[in-house]
């Protein structure tokens, strides 16, 4: 009895909305709380005992993941459990399910009884064990074809504000699930124009082998449409959409359940989405009291994994709150942090980062090997690899962070409208959608003494010598 996990990692010819960060790093490898999104997912997969193989499917160059996969393979070698990990490269972008069809033999090799399909840009608490158990419990009564991970939205307005797109008023841009009171899915709509349910598709699924029959059928109908000269639009027969071509028909033709989840959830499409995900994730780790272990607690200091700042289950270990640390904050153990600083809340700092005296960092992600010099302040920003922010700089996004967003949503539609127009204003000035009013420094950016970078995106390898406000620096 074995299972597999398939993680859809995307590719760099798509996902341009993650620019300028995608120039430095594949989106799924972007660190949330100091750890790649993909590692968060894989570490959760590893908690499911039946999984014997992890397959990454995408259309990045193979080299993108070679180090990453190598590290896991080394790790697996020292474990008793037999598990493998592999990257399967699509010959082109095949849509959300085209890759599953294309690599069907690879996936079905060894006759797994079921498999997870996980979108690689989802950040949540990944309750994969619970999903698996839920699947098994339903399986006791009838043959279950699929379980969809459904995110139950608690505060619809907040959810919309968090997940855009651009604060759209006409319903969320997600698949919406309607189920009966046993959790059986009776209706699935992709991107509905009106609100029909509080449960949306969270981008994680459990399927059995019957999925491939559906994929074959979808493929056949694609080919016939593609070859139909009367069809008005060009249709690529290789591209299959999991949502449009498979999920929509599931309620009628199969037994599909929804696993309802009430925790935090964020799909990372844009850099500002990554900042939100970081905030939500850190908050979650901080709130779950039984995990309140901090990196400099003595009983943890001899833990084998503390050098990477994680516990045995792959949950990051937060920095201990103090006069200088406003929780939640993640700081990699290798960092050099001066005493006289103020860091947090919602800050993640990667390996070998130097923070000099009198620096202030709030709601930001700092990637490895960056230096923040004395007296500088970083707010609502993402600072990529190897940057140097010199003395008395101010790197600032005026920030849609969770705290302000919550407050705005509480104040009602008027305040939300104001926020929308503020964000739209930046979009118009710098011409990027989903800016979220954050600041991004691409890798190896140098910001000279006293400079102010406000709500701007700096592409890699630039030296900033003057104040930059609402600009993209190429």
């Amino acid at each position: 009895m074995s299972s597999k996990a398939i993680i859809m990692v995307g590719g760099d010819t798509r996902g341009t909305r993650f620019r300028p960060l995608s120039l430095d790093i594949a989106k799924v490898l972007f660190p949330i709380a100091g750890k790649p999104i993909l590692s968060h997912i894989i570490d959760s997969v590893l908690l499911v005992p039946t999984v014997t193989e992890i397959l990454l499917i995408g259309f990045y160059e193979a080299s993108t993941f070679s180090d990453f996969i190598h590290d896991y393979q080394v790790k697996f070698r020292f474990q008793k459990r037999k598990i493998s990990i592999k990257y399967l490269r699509e010959f082109k972008a095949l849509g959300t399910a085209g890759g599953l069809y294309h690599f069907r033999e690879e996936i079905l090799r060894g006759n797994p009884i079921n498999f997870f399909v996980i979108h690689g840009d989802i950040v949540c608490s990944y309750p994969l064990v619970d999903i698996y158990n839920f699947y098994e419990s339903k399986q006791n009564f009838e043959k279950v074809d699929a379980v969809i991970f459904g995110v139950k939205i608690q505060d619809y307005n907040l959810f919309l504000a968090l997940n855009g797109p651009e604060f759209s008023s006409s319903g969320a841009n997600f698949g919406t699930i309607v189920s009966d009171n046993h959790g059986k899915v009776v209706h699935y709509v992709e991107k509905p124009e009106s609100k029909i349910s509080n449960v949306i598709n969270g981008g994680i699924y459990m399927f059995n082998e019957r999925l491939f029959r559906r994929l074959s059928n979808a493929k056949i109908s694609k080919i016939s449409i593609a070859n139909d000269v009367a069809h008005p639009e060009f249709v690529d027969e290789d591209v299959i959409s999991l949502e449009e071509d498979i999920l929509k028909d599931l309620p009628e033709s199969s037994t599909t359940y929804v696993y309802e989840y009430k925790g935090f959830w964020k799909q990372v499409k844009t850099p500002s989405g990554a900042l939100f995900a970081n905030e939500l994730y850190l908050d979650k780790v901080y709130q779950s009291r039984h995990r309140q272990i901090f990196s400099n607690d003595e009983n943890k200091s001899n833990s084998a994994s503390s050098s990477s700042g994680e516990d045995e289950e792959g949950v990051v270990i937060l920095a201990k709150p103090s006069a200088n640390i406003v929780p939640p904050v993640y700081i990699h153990p290798s960092c050099a942090i001066a005493d006289d600083v103020k860091i947090g809340p919602y800050v993640s700092i990667g390996e070998n980062v130097t923070i000099e005296k009198g620096a202030r960092i709030s709601n930001s992600i700092i990637l490895p090997n960056t230096e923040i010099h004395a007296h500088s302040i970083v707010l609502n920003s993402i600072i990529s690899y190897g940057c140097k922010v010199k003395e008395w700089c101010r790197i600032e996004g005026t920030g849609v962070n969770l705290a302000t967003l919550n407050e705005i949503v509480r104040k009602g539609p008027k305040a939300l409208g104001k926020l929308k127009s503020a964000v739209t204003a930046q979009q118009q000035v710098i011409g990027v959608r989903d800016t979220g009013n954050i600041c991004i420094l691409g890798s190896n950016t140098v910001v000279s003494d006293d400079c102010y970078v406000l709500n701007s995106f700096i592409l890699p390898n630039k030296t900033i010598k003057h104040d930059v406000k609402y600009e993209i620096i190429m």
Partner: protein
């Protein structure tokens, strides 16, 4: 000898500072503006000073009372019922100004320079004309009334050209004059302008000369120029190797031209200068960066704040990691919260700023 200082009205151009203190008492280089002038006049041998004002606040009367004793001068207020322009006040104060036949110094209270009254007086007495205008050179004469000299007689003014389109000269009226008492006879008791009504008559009579002002000159009537004027004043102090300036050997001084009151406290790791004035009892925290700014007395500048081209009004507090720039003016007792950015904000007294001010604006 006698002097008349044209103070005028409420100093609205220098708000929000002048909402708390009359303009002549606002400290320029850690000294009330009017005191610079009183000092210079007293040093030149002036014994009677008239302040031409539209209103007479108690605080100003009290301040000038104390200067009377300190500098051995008589100071009187000449209060206009209605604004009398730049010449009217001379007529109004005739009693004092004509009490003897010695020349009268007249100056605009907004003007700062090195006040070379002794040289000016020598010059005035040497040429024998009825009046002397102090002239300063400017880069863009097209914005001012430009002085054109007589071709035959050195320094005799031939005419004024208002906002010349073609270059006729680059000397303009600096707002300081020496007049013989007889000039008052040319003035009627009504609102009238010395520049446009009195001087042309003197030009006609070939009685008006100009004196070239050495050194700097600035009309500091508004915040932007107040800061520029401060730079000029500090540079002038540096040139004179004034002991008042904080020595460059201090580790926190950057680029010189820094004037810090001895009662102010400066934290560690600060970088202050160039062109900074810090008033009495100011407390500057650690890691603070200040350049081209004036911090008035009793302010608190907290750790790691960054301040440039800003006037911080009395008793104000600037929070940690706050950033002020772009000719921001904090009125009295303003609080800028931690981490807040203010660009070109004119903040009225007793306000607390807790959100960024990205574009120049007035904060009521």
């Amino acid at each position: 000898m006698k002097g008349l200082i044209l103070v005028g009205g409420y100093g609205t151009r220098l708000r929000p500072l002048t909402l708390s203190l009359p303009k002549p008492l606002v400290e320029f280089g850690n000294k009330p503006m009017i005191l610079h002038q009183v000092e210079a006049l007293a040093a030149a041998g002036v014994t009677d000073i008239v302040l031409a004002v539209n209103y007479k606040p108690e605080v100003m009367v009290a301040a000038l009372k104390s200067y009377e004793a300190e500098y051995g001068v008589n100071i009187t207020f000449s209060v206009e019922e209605e604004p009398l322009g730049t010449a009217g006040p001379l007529k109004l104060a005739e009693k004092v100004l004509r009490k003897d036949e010695s020349p009268i110094f007249v100056l605009n209270s907004d003007v700062i320079c090195d006040y070379p009254f002794k040289e000016l007086l020598d010059f005035h007495q040497k040429h024998g004309g009825e009046a002397t205008i102090v002239a300063t050179k400017v880069d863009e004469p097209s914005k001012y009334g430009v002085i054109v000299h007589d071709l035959a007689v050195p320094n005799l003014i031939d005419r004024f050209v208002e906002k010349p389109v073609e270059f006729v000269g680059n000397r303009i009226n600096a707002g300081l004059y020496v007049l013989n008492p007889s000039v008052i006879d040319l003035i009627e008791m009504r609102p009238t302008s010395i520049e446009h009504e009195t001087f042309p008559q003197l030009v006609e009579k070939k009685q008006l000369y100009s004196f070239d002002l050495p050194g700097y000159w600035m009309d500091v009537g508004q915040p932007k120029d107040f800061l520029s004027g401060t730079c000029l004043y500090l540079s002038s102090l540096a040139k004179k190797e004034s002991k008042a300036l904080t020595p460059i050997s201090e580790p926190f001084v950057n680029g010189g031209n820094v004037l810090i009151d001895p009662s102010a406290k400066i934290g560690k790791d600060c970088k202050i200068g160039p062109n900074v004035v810090i008033g009495p009892n100011v407390v500057v925290g650690d890691g603070v960066r200040i350049q081209r700014s004036v911090v008035l007395k009793n302010c608190q500048i907290k750790d790691h704040a960054w301040i440039k081209s800003t006037i911080v009004g009395w008793n104000s507090t600037v929070g940690r990691w706050a950033r002020l720039e772009g000719v921001t003016v904090l009125g009295e007792d303003v609080t800028v919260k931690d981490e807040v950015y203010v660009n070109g904000g004119k903040v009225l007294p007793h306000k607390s700023i807790s959100a960024n001010v990205e574009t120049p604006q007035i904060i009521m």
